[in-house]
Symmetry: C2
Subunit: 120 residues, 2 copies
């Protein structure tokens, strides 16, 4: 299980840049992933895949990499799986109020029109 | 002065999408423009150009278009110039706290590392 146990690089909290975080959150599919993890807690990659079953694994992998490299999520080995968790404390510390503002808009119109990979 | 008086399309407030706003703000040069306008009030295109004098006009034009089409700024004719203003009320109404969270981070480390068009 090499692939599942490999440690992946993550930026330290002080190396997380606002523009990278904004870019990572600017894709509807990635924003849906972050909303899922923020609401339901850490998810395995398989559970992330379940959010949009039609998405190719390579696309999901790319999205998870973008979120990890921006410092939005952690991706760590967990048994034979990998677990994706939100770096809420790091993000709240670096950019107070940003994550709440982004996620706070999830409840209304925007979920319907930005959801499910549909680009406006 | 055809170019300066032409009315450009702007999305209505209810057609402004979170992912488009996040994308528009995810570029260091565009974020600097928004910080300038938020701090100093509406700016002419020439004043925007002054923020990064080395930037080609076509690049500035592209950034202003991205910000306008995302619903972040208004670009209106003003005499022989054009004036760029922040759509703060529309953004605050659609995404409460988002703009403050993005701009609130301008004071510390992030300005130094994301400023002046430097991609991290």
């Amino acid at each position: 299980m090499m692939a599942a146990t490999r440690m992946l690089p993550h930026p330290d909290a002080h190396d997380v840049h606002l523009t990278d975080v904004l870019f990572a959150l600017s894709d509807p599919a990635r924003l849906d992933l972050v909303r899922l993890i923020a609401q339901d807690g850490p998810q395995t990659v398989a559970q992330c895949q379940g959010l949009e079953p039609g998405t190719p694994k390579s696309t999901l992998s790319h999205h998870l990499k973008t979120l990890r490299e921006a410092g939005v999520v952690r991706n760590v080995p967990s048994g034979r799986q990998r677990t994706i968790s939100l770096r809420r404390d790091d993000l709240d510390g670096r950019f107070p109020g940003l994550l709440d503002a982004v996620l706070g808009t999830a409840g209304d119109a925007d979920l319907a029109d930005s959801g499910r990979g549909q680009q406006s």
